[in-house]
């Protein structure tokens, strides 16, 4: 694992992209294909299942370090990262982790599976004793599925592309979906001959950039843009090739068996088609709250009851492949035509025969409807008009608009320029901070995750957790406040004196069983620290609910 540790140190030791790519190239050019495959696996954010409980690791480390438990806890509080704390308290060694990364994973980590606690401990402690501080840290991170380093998948792809001479988008696609980190896989990944890989493999998703109000001025004439509702569901690709149907989420999870109604409907599609769209909980012509979709995904068994209660649709907005031909370089206006054509000419599926009228362009009006639809596009002559459309988003139960240039290709990753998401203005409320927890990674050891409350009668009830939105300077100040005003400790969580008022922004409301207030905010974030407000002036559960209802009615 030595080479991997050197790579990690190189990646971690620079903020410059070209140096990171150089380090990756050097590494991939030197190590065995077996090791390279595992490195790609971890560097692209994939994880192995945690085979040993974190508490167990901590206990063994405490024994090895011969320190009391409370002292370990103090250290953990200060470091904020378990894998690192363990690496830092273990007795120092002169050792270096001999053997390749694949050897460490396959011959050490995998041997933990199903082993007795004694054997597990022997393997883990043995590994610790055979490695340096940094290697131990990495081993712990890989073991607990918490490995992270400052490279994006795009950088890994860039390095592999430069090394192999294969186009980045081909490598990206070969990295999509499920694959096993083996030498054979890595060889196929950098093979100049081979095709795109397995049949069910999706294309890398093209993502939109957030657009701010004033930026519409920079987009040119509104007429050049298609607008679509920004659906609040699960972004997914629906693939039909060689009579096989696959549904992949943007998180590259295979969801095919979670959505039988979509699969059934997709059997009517022609062969060699890949659609991009959104899976939405949808009933009687209406979008249901996103939460219900999560509930459905969480179910192990999909019985009739849940299928009836929370039906879903695939709202298609793009076609990436037709007749096995990659359409991603065609302009969007062309792809939309093809999409509508492909969907409207599909064979009617037996059970759906009763729907004689496919009201593709009025999805929210239809009473009964198929599970595969086209997301409608809207056009406007001016940005004022477009904004008016956007402002009806709440009533439509969507988050805002997607703006896509008529001529845009289907790219990879998130780029500024051709696809934008234009959300409605968020709701804002004043809340008071009641608890804080230390962050992780870059924010380890600092109190960065906060719980906010509003009034309900004469009581403060938690309504949201948020961690983004403050500057580093403010985070340091809040951190100091938390330390000086702690009223209670519950593990890493500290309750604090409710004196500091923060204005939060959020995109929607959901019922919650986790928060005492009975409601949860969707995408809460901190707008600003309100030094000028007193805790008596903050919102109440009632005022928050009212605010939401009023806006949704507009």
């Amino acid at each position: 694992m030595k080479d991997f540790a050197v790579l990690f140190a190189d990646l971690d030791g620079t903020t410059k992209t070209n140096e990171k790519v150089a380090a990756l190239k050097k590494y991939f050019g030197t190590v065995s294909h077996g090791e390279a495959a595992w490195a790609v696996y971890f560097l692209t954010g994939r994880r192995i299942k945690q085979l040993v409980k974190s508490g167990q690791l901590a206990r063994w480390a405490v024994d090895e370090a011969k320190i009391p438990d409370w002292l370990f806890d103090e250290c953990y509080d200060s470091v904020g990262d378990l894998g690192e704390t363990i690496a830092l308290i273990l007795p120092t060694t002169e050792a270096h982790a001999e053997g390749s990364l694949d050897f460490w994973i396959e011959e050490k980590v995998y041997k933990l599976r199903g082993a007795s606690e004694l054997t597990q401990r022997e393997i883990v402690v043995g590994a610790w004793n055979a490695s340096s501080d940094l290697e131990r840290f990495l081993f712990n991170k890989l073991l607990t599925g918490a490995f992270r380093v400052g490279v994006s998948q795009q950088l890994v792809v860039k390095a592999l592309s430069e090394l192999s001479g294969i186009e980045p988008r081909v490598i990206s696609q070969r990295l999509m979906g499920d694959w096993d980190p083996t030498a054979e896989f890595f060889e196929k990944l950098i093979d100049t001959e081979g095709g795109a890989g397995e049949l069910s493999r999706p294309y890398p998703f093209y993502l939109a950039f957030p657009l701010t109000e004033n930026e519409t001025l920079l987009l040119g004439p509104a007429a050049n843009w298609f607008a679509e509702w920004k659906w609040d569901g699960i972004r997914a690709q629906l693939i039909k090739r060689n009579k096989e149907i696959a549904i992949w989420s943007r998180g590259e999870e295979l969801l095919t068996d979670r959505f039988p109604e979509i699969v059934e409907e997709a059997t009517g599609l022609k062969e060699g088609v890949v659609l991009d769209g959104e899976i939405l909980p949808f009933k009687e012509g209406d979008v249901l709250p996103f939460q219900l979709l999560q509930k459905r995904i969480g179910r192990k068994n999909l019985n009739k009851k849940i299928l009836d209660e929370i039906p879903v649709v695939f709202m298609a907005y793009d076609i990436l492949e037709e007749d096995y031909k990659d359409l991603r370089d065609e302009p969007l206006r062309f792809r939309r035509e093809r999409l509508e054509h492909v969907l409207s000419t599909r064979d009617k599926v037996a059970s759906q025969q009763e729907f004689t009228q496919l009201q593709l362009f009025a999805p929210c009006m239809t009473q009964l409807s198929p599970s595969l639809r086209v997301s409608p596009t809207m056009q406007a002559e001016s940005w004022e008009e477009m904004k008016k459309i956007r402002d009806t988003a709440n009533a439509m139960k969507v988050e805002g608009l997607m703006l896509k240039h008529r001529e845009s290709k289907y790219g990879t990753g998130r780029h500024k320029g051709f696809w934008w998401k234009w959300k409605v203005d968020p709701f804002t409320i004043d809340t008071v901070m009641v608890a804080a927890q230390p962050g992780h990674g870059k924010r380890a050891g600092l109190f960065t995750d906060y719980t906010f409350a509003v009034w309900q009668e004469n009581e403060l009830v938690p309504i949201a957790k948020a961690y983004s939105g403050l500057t580093d300077e403010e985070i340091r100040k809040v951190d100091a406040f938390v330390r000086e005003n702690t009223t209670g400790r519950y593990g890493p969580l500290r309750t604090v004196k409710p004196t500091q008022v923060f204005e939060l922004a959020f995109d929607g409301l959901q019922p919650s069983t986790r928060h005492k207030s009975g409601i949860a905010l969707r995408f809460p974030r901190i707008l600003r620290w309100r030094f000028d407000k007193k805790v008596s002036e903050i919102d109440t559960v009632e005022s928050v609910s009212k605010l939401f209802k009023e806006k949704a009615r507009d």
Binding site: W70, L71, T92, G445, L446, D472
Partner: protein
Amino acid sequence: MSKALVTSTNSGLYCPQGDFYIDPWRGVDLALVTHAHSDHARSGSKCYLTSEPGQHVLRARLDPGANVESIAYGKKLTIKDVTVSFHPAGHVLGSAQIRIEHKGQVWVVSGDYKTQLDPTCEAIEPIQCHTFITESTFGLPIYRWPSEQDIESQINGWWQRNKEQGRASVLFAYSFGKAQRILSLVDSSIGPIFVHGAVHKLNEQYTTSGVTLPDCKFVGDLDKKADFKGGLIIAPPAAFDSPWTKRFGDYSSGYASGWMRVRGNRRRQSIDRGFTLSDHADWNGLLEIISATGAEEIIVTHGFSQPLIKYLRETGKQARGFKTEYRGEESELAIANEKLAEAYEEDLEKPPAKEDTP
């Protein structure tokens, strides 16, 4: 128990039997100074007593005309009812532990100390005593230092590699003590060495005190077009992210501090490389020195004091804390604090860029 030889007061640590203060943070009549770092040596007292090797640095850092007396390490001096002597603490040039004896009772105030070797100052000598007053800046077992050789080769390797890539290496380090220690361990054959004004000022005092340092060019002496490629620049943390660093062009940044042992501390500062190098004792160093003093009672002043106190109590020692204004605080604030401290100390009110125009 016999009467305390040192108490904690609003002005600082006080010895009633000798009627003097140690490292006071307010002006007093007589201040015994363990070392010249700004949180231990403050202006405003009528008379200062420090170790002989530390006198030049202390004079340079107090208001001009301060009355500074010095005494050789180990030499005994009677002040009122007590006998005092200064003994090396290994922290920075001239740093001392102060031994106080009264009617057979011996107390030692250690100031700040380290156990690692440092060519720019005398090594610590543990002093037998009844009560030992210790710091605890790094009083957690996660803080254990790599060997001096390790750090030396890490820094030299980093510099060498940057040089090969045609870049400058800017290493941020506390300007008094840390900077000189780094200068003494880098391989000056790799390339030219440059220093920030704050470091330059202290280097002069070190040289006056007889410490040999490699040749360094003061950045402020160079003209605008000076070429820093392949060079090593030593600067205080306060210069980090300031316009002053612009002139080095494409450079790699490093930071030498004990806090760099923990990854998050470095990552929060967006520093390329962290080097775990401290002028304070690590966890093992604290325990080693505490044990070597044979003291029955330990008083902890600053840093991670609570864990150290609890740990010592569990190992059967009497331990308690003194509230002081010495810095050390909690790790997450340390770098920001060090930056503030350094800024305060060097009075960098004037824009750093001014250094270019003498």
